[in-house]
């Protein structure tokens, strides 16, 4: 079954049409990378999947649940969808451990000890076990983003969304975050990754989508698109970023 299926999705902010007829299918275990210039609607695509943005037309089905169905509660969708943001958005008044345990305790109703056990395992997985008691301000950008990934994973989501997860980081530390994302991909985590990291899209992605001006210009196997882009706009974009 398809994990995330978008069909003919439209979204406008005021008179600005951000998404024009977007259709996209992501199967379980796939790593779908979305690339494209700024303002092409990439981040909005992600936000339509967990209802941070409501769509104006079309349909999005996440693990069998429709985002336009009023009977589907926000929490049902968001338990299935983890999200990592460009600006990390860690809660600054909580330690790394508290950031990771908050939602499992409040949303999944896990007992404190169980939640902490899971959180410590996840922090170890992103290589930050020893930073559990630190506040976000005491961590580097790369460390903060890794905590944010652990925080999203703690909800045991079916699909992970990454919204330019490395764009706010210094080039020399993007590697530590990309490394964690590679590990997740290797474990067959379903991921939709909006990124400017062409190397990651090419090597880790199983599916590549090039967006421009609110439409999907080209999609297919990453290697094929990078080596032999069909559309003029894809060629122009790739020649600038590669």
């Amino acid at each position: 079954m398809t994990m995330v299926a978008m069909s003919h999705v439209r979204k406008a902010f005021g008179s600005n049409e951000v998404l024009k007829d977007i259709s996209l299918a992501v199967d379980p275990g796939e790593v779908c990378c979305i690339i494209g210039p700024s303002g092409s609607g990439k981040s909005t695509v992600l936000r339509c999947i967990n209802r941070l943005v409501s769509i104006d037309g079309g349909e999005v089905i996440v693990d069998g649940l429709s985002v336009t169905d009023p009977k589907v509660k926000d929490v049902d969708l968001r338990r299935r969808v983890g999200m990592v943001f460009q600006q990390f958005n860690l809660f600054p008044h909580m330690t790394a451990l508290q950031n990771v345990t908050l939602a499992p305790r409040k949303v999944r109703g896990l007992a404190g000890a169980r939640a902490e056990e899971t959180a410590m395992r996840l922090l170890a997985k992103v290589g930050l076990k020893e930073k559990a008691q630190q506040y976000p301000a005491q961590l580097s950008g790369g460390q903060q983003q890794r905590v944010a990934i652990a925080r999203a994973l703690a909800m045991e989501p079916k699909v992970m969304l990454f919204d330019e997860a490395t764009s706010a980081l210094d080039p020399e530390i993007t590697g530590e975050v990309l490394g964690v994302m590679r590990d997740l991909a290797a474990e067959h985590t379903t991921m939709i990754v909006v990124t400017h990291e062409m190397g990651f899209a090419r090597e880790v992605g199983t599916q590549l989508v090039f967006m421009d001006g609110g439409v999907i210009v080209e999609e297919g196997a990453p290697r094929a698109i990078f080596e032999n882009p069909q559309a003029e706009r894809t060629k122009a974009f790739l020649s600038k970023v590669l």
């Binding site: 941070l52 943001f85 600006q87 958005n89 809660f91 600054p92 939602a103 506040y135």
Partner: protein
Amino acid sequence: MLLVGIVGAAMRTSKSAPARGFATAFAEFFRNTPPLVHIFFAYFALPVVGIKLPAFVAGTLALVFYQGAIAIEILRAGIEAVPKGQFEAASALGLSGFEQFRSIVMPQAFRISLPALGNNLISLLKNTSLISAIGAIEITGVANDIIAIRLTSAELYLTIGGFYLVLVFILSGILRSTEARLARYGT
């Protein structure tokens, strides 16, 4: 006062239009009228509609409403200063509106608002002197009584000025240490 502020600020920033309207009207009304008028109203006018309150209760209530209205506006500004990404991240994790407010927004808004809330608390402490106008027993009122008997105004007003100074000094000390404690995690 803080309770009025927190509940009021929650309503003031909520999605519900009636709640927002009520909190805005409450804050604007009490913030834009003098506290002495509230005190007189609570003590002299409320009995007309059958609500008789002892002087101390009427005075306290009036001041809580006045300072609470100011606290609403202070906390509202604090809530609006919490970055949008915090709301997004909390929503994306599936936290309910109430849980977001309690665990994510309020702790940060409170810290942002703390210096202004502290000033409000200090002003509340000093404004208790106004309650003497309706004969409640507090520092200024007692001093006035003594002055009426002994006619030594200068000494007594200096003395109670000193009392307020000491009280406010202690209070600001507590506020400063709270600010320092909350500043621990930075940003």
